[in-house]
């Protein structure tokens, strides 16, 4: 039963990674850049939500919505100010700019919200009974509401996003831009708007991930987003960067491996195990689990 417990919390953590990884993978697919500031957008989302609850005591759904709106605007602003001028620049220059943005967000958060850890409220408590989860099999299996909601939200986002990408006009434009920017431009697709929209979606998802992450692990500091950011980036590569189902698969596997390694191998070495598995996978499948194999042409 303890295995099942670990498995469920692994899937829940993996769902959060998957939502963050979506942001990485979509931006990578379209702008061909590693957006290192993505992890810090998560942190901003969590803080916005925290203050919406503690200062203005808005209802939970409105808090999350506010966080999503703020992060979406933030993502688009970052893209306009820092990344858009570098469209023609070498990819390393864009990478360093993204790192600069990440430093900026972390330190701005440090100044605005102080380094003191904030305790994130638990939205998912039963109003009448005060319970935070369901207990099954006479207490042998405990599943918190946060876990359930996280998994459901992740599945819902995946379903909506898959339909959106394959059917909507903007989704088709995104696929076209990711395949060939110049050809897409010739077909009358506004490349800048499309990239901007991708950042908006990715950042909005980051806000949701931030709220879920802090609901499960309720300590909020300005560096909250960086480690999950790196892990989710790893998850995106694990599943094949640029692929949306890959982000889901990579995120879930990474989460499960991490929690199982913590439970059965060693708490301190769990990161080493996660990254070790990543290396093995990339050696066997060099473009990730679901990544497209691009033939080299001379």
């Amino acid at each position: 039963m303890s295995f099942l417990n670990s498995l469920i919390s692994g899937i829940s953590l993996g769902s959060i990674y998957a939502i963050i990884a979506l942001g990485y993978t979509m931006v990578y697919g379209i702008a061909k850049m590693l957006n290192f500031a993505h992890g810090d957008v998560i942190m901003v989302g969590a803080y916005v939500c925290f203050f919406a609850v503690s200062r203005f005591s808005l209802p939970p759904l409105l808090d999350v919505l506010l966080a999503v709106v703020v992060c979406t605007c933030l993502g688009m602003t970052i893209e306009k100010l820092a990344y858009a001028p570098l469209r023609a620049a070498p990819s390393l220059a864009v990478l360093i700019t993204a790192i600069g943005v990440s430093y900026f967000l972390q330190n701005a958060a440090l100044l605005l919200w102080t380094p003191n850890p904030k305790v994130f409220p638990n939205f998912f408590t039963h109003k009448a009974t005060g319970q935070t989860g369901v207990v099954l099999f006479d207490g042998a299996l405990r599943v918190s509401y946060v876990t359930l909601v996280t998994i459901l939200v992740c599945l819902a986002i995946m379903a909506v996003l898959t339909v959106f990408i394959s059917n909507s006009k903007l989704g088709k434009a995104m696929r076209a831009v990711s395949e060939d920017k110049d050809a897409a431009r010739l077909m009358g697709i506004n490349v800048n708007t499309t990239i901007s929209a991708t950042f908006a979606i990715g950042s909005g998802l980051a806000a949701i991930a931030g709220v879920l992450l802090c609901s499960a692990y309720p300590t909020l500091v300005p560096t909250t987003g960086s480690m999950p950011g790196i892990k989710a980036f790893t998850a995106a590569v694990f599943g094949g960067i640029g692929s949306i189902p890959g982000a889901l698969l990579g995120g879930l596997m990474l989460g499960v491996i991490e929690i199982l390694a913590k439970a059965y191998i060693s708490t301190q070495l769990s990161d080493a195990v996660v990254f070790g598995v990543l290396i093995v996978v990339l050696l066997v499948k060099p473009t990730g689990l679901l990544g497209k194999v691009v033939r080299e042409k001379v």
Binding site: A88, I96, T97, Y103, D271, A272, L283
Partner: protein
Amino acid sequence: MKNKLSKASRRAFLTCAVVVAAFVALQSLASAGAMSSMLRGLLVPICAYVVMAISLNLTVGVLGELSLGHAGFMSVGAFTGVTAAAALQNLVASKELRLIAALLVGAIFAGIVGFLVGIPVLRLNGDYLAIVTLAFGEIIKSVFNNLYLGLDGHGFHLSLLDNKLRMEEGGRLIIGGPMGVGGIQKIANFATGFALIMLCLVVIFNLVNSRAGRAIMAIRDNRIAAESVGIPVTKYKMTAFVTSAAMAGAAGALFALNFSTIVANKFDFNTSILVLVFVVLGGLGNMLGSIVAAAALTVLPEALRQFADYRMLVYAIVLIAVMLLRNSPGIRAFTERARIRKGGEAE
């Protein structure tokens, strides 16, 4: 051909001359007592970061592969170097000899780890290679965070995860897991740091100007073309990668021997990124640029102390602004024109 070679060597001489001049100026300032204690304390870290920057420039600029785990090699060098220095403490009287031995041990171990890491890493390309170096950096960090190493009359004792060392009386713990290494004798000095920079520069310039270096740059410019003319890609990639790792190891040993304690978390992803920032700001393949960027950006956060809380924010803004300015179309066109006017070839 002749002109091009002499241009490369001119650049190498210029770089070495700038480093020597900077060393002489700083050393005389320090001995005249005209240097602030802040800057004096930064001299050895600057040397270590400069070596890190030029060694990473070998991987990123000359070999053309993005590495996000360079701090891992620094970590290997730091821990093995400190261990060597501690082991030799009662055997070798001279501080300088111990320091040199520590740097050598750090370089050798980092080189070995670089080789082992390189076997899987160099089979991959592009962003996948980058993520695997990141992964190795994190693994190295986790391992050192959980490693216990002690020394007694019987030699070294090693254990992972828990302190299970069974040492005899008088044995001492050198690496203490997450506590890192404590009570290090600070034997690093600026002159050795300078010598290390010069040595690394000489190695890199000689490597770049050799048959191997030309092969490495051919691989960077077009791997398939290089392979098809019979260049053993893996061998030359490995040469550059291991050289770079060994230099980072020496830098790590130098860095660690400048502080009384050192922990594995010091050499995390952020340190790798910091060094990468030096390299990209200084210009890929441009050693002088890396040196200037490393020195300037190590001093900058300290010099911004008067802004107190705002300094890292200012640092971030400076970083973004420099990247945007360097790559703005207007400035690019201007430098291009300047280069053509000077008679060089436009790229």
